[in-house]
């Protein structure tokens, strides 16, 4: 065989494709809409020691969830305890791969003959892992024990035999056992697809060449990232922000960062962030690392597929026991609140020096909205849980994107109103950009949306959690801050109740749940916005005449 370098390139590409193929397999095998529609999962492969080789992602929020899970598995088990046919399971938030209990990782060690050469890993949001609240997501838990079952790097399969006792424990402790066990099998199946492809590569090219390709792939990731990092001005950049509330009425909680960039190294130091919260908005170090990697990827090279080599120059520092590095038994069910805040403050620190990569602040939150009730036609229980789109911040050369999911989502789709109305006891009365104040600038923040759900069921219950409900998406270079995320319940009598976080608020038939998502922050002094663009905005209804006069200094001709 000639020209080895290209063969190695093709093996590298094939390893990267393993991530994509496992992703497709998971979409194919899962029975849970949150996985195959919400794509709330990640799959991938690492080398024998846990260096990430490739990852298939539906959302941006799992970048450290696979490889660090392998590293921790190796901490818990000596090499001679890890055998062909073993499958490991973990969801503990406090060690490698941890996010919250709902996200469960399945790990398969890949052996060539008797040598461990790689791991394939799947991490997915299971519909149910037990705990105090249906769906295992809670805004009111005070300890991890209320949030569901916890697995800590244990064997689900031992040399090919499934651990029936464990399966029975899971079955007995979750509300939708068939769905949960289905998710478990889908996770194993997706990881096996990866194992099979890696072994096919070994059969075709031989183990030494595949192992060499793995090393080179990591070096390639490092090389590409190093080149990108070198273009970022060295310096120390700081920012500070808050997590508004922990769901129990405590807060705000400070989130701080000091970013130090020295040519070939970036240190993200979150020291000084608030102590862990009593309510479930904490993240652990593993979640913080995932968030930090996500932003690091965004500022280095978002184009090439992520691997462990891409993160060799990143160091994430934060003492234990903060809201970003919670310790057991801290509740973490809504860990995305702290993780998103960490990403956002990191973003805020660097945006001034990386205008081409980072726009102003966005809605930040997934704006998780859960509504349940009995369907008026069938009398059956419906439960809708969905993230919402909002406004992104303005860029240095363009307006912000309007109506996009937040940074921790990604290949996430809104539910068409026509499907939504058929399935749930709600009618969508509007789905439109709103014209609330916020986001003015030489370049405008992208518009958030207003969404009206008229209740057609006898009664429905609203559970809602967002960030930026009182604070606002930050602006850049003299632009105006964005607007707020919040929910309203518009009562029959005309009363309007406003919520930033709430749990199972009853809403009667023909009352309206109105949800606003934030408009993103603006960029630059609004008075510098060219008149023709502003007049177009007025014509398009993106800026009201009152806003034009007050924020942009517009004087009609």
């Amino acid at each position: 065989m000639t020209t080895n370098i290209f063969t190695l390139d093709i093996i590298k590409d094939s390893l990267v494709a393993v991530g994509e193929e496992m992703f497709q397999a998971m979409l194919r095998t899962s029975m849970s809409p949150i996985i195959y529609e919400g794509t709330d999962f990640a799959v991938g492969a690492t080398d024998a020691t846990g260096n990430l080789l490739a990852q298939g992602n539906g959302v941006a929020a799992f970048l450290a969830a696979l490889d660090t899970a392998v590293v921790s598995t190796l901490d818990h088990h000596d090499l001679d305890e890890i055998k062909p046919g073993d499958v490991f399971i973990t969801n503990t938030p406090y060690e490698g791969g941890g996010t919250h209990l709902s996200d469960v990782a399945i790990l398969i060690p890949v052996f060539h003959e008797t040598t461990l050469i790689a791991w394939t890993v799947n991490k997915a949001h299971w519909t149910e892992v037990g705990g105090a609240q249906p769906g295992s997501v809670s805004s009111s838990s005070t300890e991890i024990y209320q949030e569901g079952l916890r697995f800590t790097f244990i064997k689900l399969y031992e040399e090919g035999r499934i651990n029936q006792a464990l399966v029975q424990v899971i079955r007995d402790n979750v509300r939708l056992p068939d769905s949960t066990i289905g998710d478990m099998h889908a996770g194993v199946a997706a990881a096996r697809v990866g194992e099979k492809r890696i072994l096919e590569l070994v059969a075709k090219y031989g183990a030494p060449m595949v192992l060499q390709a793995m090393d080179e792939l990591l070096d390639y990731g490092e090389k590409m990232t190093r080149a990108a990092l070198a273009t970022i001005p060295s310096g120390v950049y700081e920012a500070e922000d808050i997590i508004e509330d922990d769901g129990l009425g405590n807060g705000p909680f400070a989130v701080k960062i000091k970013v130090t960039i020295t040519g070939d190294r970036l240190i993200a130091d979150f020291t000084g962030s608030a102590p862990q919260a009593p309510g479930p908005v904490n993240t652990t170090y593993a979640g913080l690392l995932t968030g930090a990697r996500c932003l690091f990827k965004a500022i280095t090279d978002p184009g090439i597929p992520a691997n462990g080599g891409c993160f060799r120059m990143l160091e994430v520092v934060c003492p234990p026991g903060t809201v970003l590095t919670a310790q057991p038994p801290a509740p973490v069910s809504m860990n995305f609140q702290a993780r998103n805040a960490a990403v956002d403050v990191f973003w805020k620190a660097l945006a001034p020096v990386l205008p081409q990569r980072l726009p102003a602040g966005h809605q930040q939150s997934v704006c998780a909205t859960f509504i349940s009730g009995l369907h008026p036609d069938t009398g059956e229980l419906f439960v809708i849980g969905e993230p919402l789109v909002g406004g992104w911040g303005a860029c240095h050369d363009s307006d912000g994107d309007a109506g996009q999911f937040c940074s921790s989502n990604g290949e996430t789709y809104n539910i068409p109103c026509e499907l939504f109305e058929a399935r749930y006891g709600l009618q969508v009365a509007q789905y439109a950009f709103h014209d609330q104040d916020g986001g003015a600038g030489e370049y405008r923040g992208g518009k958030g949306v207003v969404l009206d759900y008229r209740v057609t069921a006898e009664r429905a219950f609203l559970t809602y959690a967002a960030a930026r409900t009182s604070s606002r998406p930050w602006a850049l270079s003299g632009g105006q801050e964005g607007s707020n995320n919040y929910a309203e319940v518009r009562r029959h009598g005309g009363d309007v109740e406003r919520f930033g976080m709430c749990t199972t608020v009853p809403v009667e038939r023909d009352e309206v749940i109105r949800i606003y998502t934030a408009t993103g922050g603006g960029y630059g002094d609004p008075r510098r916005r060219p008149r023709e663009l502003l007049e177009k905005d007025i014509k398009n209804g993106f800026v009201t005449t009152a806003q034009a006069t007050r924020d942009y200094g517009y004087e009609p001709a």
């Binding site: 020209t3 590409d13 860029c395 109103c417 499907l419």
Partner: protein, 693 residues
């Protein structure tokens, strides 16, 4: 005389043959190629007939595949379009689905809507999800709205109301009133474009169809006039994306159905040829200048989907088009794809292409970048003596200059770089082929690979080796396959209707009735334009998109018994379970729901049998042009026998290393694989790993 033309980026292809009016016997298929003539594409069409010395007066049948729709869309050369929606929903077009495929790009911008916000108006009306009109449409704002649109220079209007897929009454009222108020404007209502749910997808489709409507209407009208001025007595048929042809009138009414007509006809031609020679399971690959497209045909059936997008890739959500389109995967890898080295020292091929101009470096039109075609030339796979049909000498100086920077970056010889380019281009195409096969639960060993397009024959065997496909077919006329396919298709209309119905014995009559409504609609549409027809004149196929209750994704299967008016619920359920298991790996005990009814209605066009390739008894040795050194990459450099494809005859047989050359086809066959020629003249390559197993 029967003829078809396909307008490509570079060439307009004409395929034609004589039919003896007395005996019905068909003559030899002949082809002509002329330059494509933008922006007046119809000139090239008429010009191709002139080049072949065909008078339009002699045509009994003329089919045409136009690129006018896809060109107007990708070049943003449609007309100024307005949109009218249900009050509260005019921003659906811009919010779209909110997805960000480019996950880590925080400066992401989703694609711009085709209608600016101030041209998106609303009317108060409401239909609920059961099809009940909760609020009749208030048409009183229309006069002012139309005055504003006129003032803005609007030329087309799209109307999309919620749930109009189930009850179009409010939309229809609005259309009728606008036609009265403003008869000249192009107007499309969503129910005339799609009867499926998902308001964003339906809105996007209606807007895009309206956006190109006046342009398509003008183009088809001009073409009809030019042909009839020259004596053509019939009406031209237009190729659609669903693999069938339709009347010029229907195409003008909803032009978005023509969006992907070229690839569709090639794929349907593949199915037709496969059927004729007894191969029903095909992986189909069409390699052109800038892209490669692939699809899978199972049991002779081409998959047609309404989940189609333009401008969609791994980084861009694109624009959905909810119209029946043959299900293809397209990647940016063709003969003109450019090779480049990134800062990490890694060689890539595509997705950027040198396109038709300047084209590969060897064309000598100023191309400075090495392409896949240049690499094939360097390795001796393309015969320098018959480069571009022998019409020109390769520009070797330009080739050397294009390879030099790559050689420097990789520290390699020209040949080594060329081998790398081919290997990486093949790896890219292999991944696309996996997407349509293994990733959807199919085993490539159960299929034959049928390859066509300018580059299909060049790469097919190497790809089959990689994927472990045992058998490759290079069909006759492979370089003009899309145009030829138009002569092999029928008139076809697809009727899709979203209706949620449980698949249970109690539903049989409802299912039957819904299909009955669709049949009547089809009958009505066809009869409108031709002489009155009866149901027996139309070939119907009954398909249903179904899912397990509580799931979202659907699988399309035939509705058993619908053709005889007695729905076989059990058999339909059984085929659903099996198809679901194949696609998604599991089956459930849950109840099954029908989501979409899909009726395919075809008027069969008489097609003379494919004519066999004449046999003169020529010896194989007489078909040999000579020998040359060919670099087969992993198989090494070999002295290959070069065959003249035009001289090969049925039942001939030989082994690689070989190259078969026709004026615009090069088929590369590595050592040990066996080649046979069938009675129609198609090349079959039987891979050695099967034969030697």
């Amino acid at each position: 005389m029967r003829a078809a033309t396909d307008v490509g980026g570079t060439f307009t292809d004409l395929v034609y043959y004589e039919v003896d009016r007395a005996t019905g016997q068909s003559g030899q298929v002949r082809i002509a190629k002329v330059d494509t003539t933008p922006p007046n594409f119809e000139e090239g069409v008429v010009g191709s007939l002139a080049k072949a010395k065909i008078s339009p007066a002699d045509l009994d049948f003329f089919a045409h595949g136009a690129t006018v729709v896809i060109n107007a869309l990708t070049e943003r050369k449609g007309v100024k379009t307005a949109l009218i929606t249900t009050a509260g929903f005019r921003d659906v077009l811009e919010i779209a689905r909110g997805n960000r495929p480019d996950l880590f790009n925080f400066a992401f911008h989703k694609p711009k809507p085709f209608v600016e916000r101030h041209l998106r108006a609303e009317l108060t009306e409401r239909t609920n999800y059961k099809g009940m009109i909760e609020r009749p449409v208030d048409l009183s704002p229309l006069p002012d709205m139309i005055a504003a649109f006129k003032h803005e220079g609007v030329e087309a209007i799209a109307i999309v109301f919620l749930h109009s897929y189930i009850n179009p009454q409010n939309e229809q009222l609005a259309v009728d009133r606008i036609r009265k108020l403003w008869p000249e404007v192009s107007i499309l209502a969503s129910h005339a474009v799609s009867r499926e749910w998902r308001e964003y997808e339906r809105t996007s489709t209606t807007v895009l169809s309206a956006y190109v409507h006046p342009i398509a209407e003008r183009y088809i009208g001009t073409l009809e006039k030019k042909l009839s001025d020259q004596g053509f007595a019939g009406k031209p048929f237009m190729m659609q994306s669903n693999g069938g042809i339709t009347t010029a009138r229907a195409a003008k009414a909803n032009p978005i159905t023509m969006v992907e007509s070229g690839p569709a006809s090639g794929i349907f031609a593949a199915a037709y040829v496969g059927e004729a020679i007894g191969y029903h399971n095909l992986i189909v690959l069409d390699i052109g200048g800038t892209t490669a497209k692939c699809t899978l045909i199972e049991e002779g059936q081409v998959k047609v989907t309404t989940e189609y997008y333009i401008e969609r890739d791994g980084k861009n959500p694109g624009y959905p088009i909810q119209t029946p389109v043959s299900d293809i995967v397209e990647i940016g890898n063709g003969g003109g794809s450019i090779a480049w080295v990134d800062v990490g020292g890694k060689l890539h091929v595509g997705p950027h292409s040198a396109a038709a101009r300047p084209g590969p470096a060897a064309y000598g039109h100023g191309g400075t970048k090495a392409t896949t075609t240049d690499a094939n030339l360097v390795l001796g796979r393309i015969d320098p003596a018959s480069f571009v049909g022998g019409e020109r000498e390769p520009d070797w100086k330009a080739v050397d200059a294009a390879f030099a920077p790559l050689q420097l970056a990789l520290d390699m010889s020209r040949e080594e770089v060329a081998r790398g380019i081919i290997r990486i281009a093949n790896a890219n195409m292999t991944r696309a082929l996996r997407l349509v096969s293994t990733n959807k639960g199919h085993d490539p060993r159960d299929f034959s690979l049928m390859a066509f397009g300018g580059g299909g024959a060049m790469h097919a065997v190497a790809l089959a080796e990689e994927l472990k496909v045992p058998h490759v077919i290079i069909p006759v006329n492979s370089s003009v396959f899309s145009a030829w396919g138009m002569l092999l298709t029928d008139l076809r209309r697809d009727y899709l209707r979203t209706r949620m119905v449980p698949l249970a014995s109690g539903s049989s009559s409802l299912i039957r009735d819904i299909f009955g409504e669709l049949e009547s609609e089809a009958l009505n549409d066809y009869s409108d334009e031709d002489q009155p027809l009866t149901r027996q004149d139309i070939a119907f196929e009954y398909l249903v998109d179904m899912r397990y209750a509580g799931q979202q994704h659907t699988v399309k299967v035939p509705c058993t018994g619908a053709n005889v008016g007695r729905i076989d619920i059990d058999a339909t359920a059984a085929s659903f379970h099996a198809a679901h298991e194949k696609r998604f790996t599991y089956r459930l005990d849950s109840a099954i729901e029908l989501v979409n009814f899909h009726l395919v209605a075809k008027l069969v066009v008489p097609k003379p049998p494919l004519s066999p390739k004449p046999k003169t008894g020529r010896a194989l040795a007489d078909a040999i042009k000579g020998q040359r050194q060919v670099d087969y990459d992993v198989h090494g450099v070999h002295t290959a026998t070069i065959y003249d494809g035009l001289l090969l005859e049925p039942d001939m047989e030989f082994h690689g290393p070989a190259v078969i050359q026709e004026p615009s086809v090069t088929c590369v066959i590595p050592p040990r694989h066996r080649v046979t020629i069938d009675r129609l003249g198609n090349y079959h390559i039987h891979l050695s790993f099967v034969e030697e197993a």
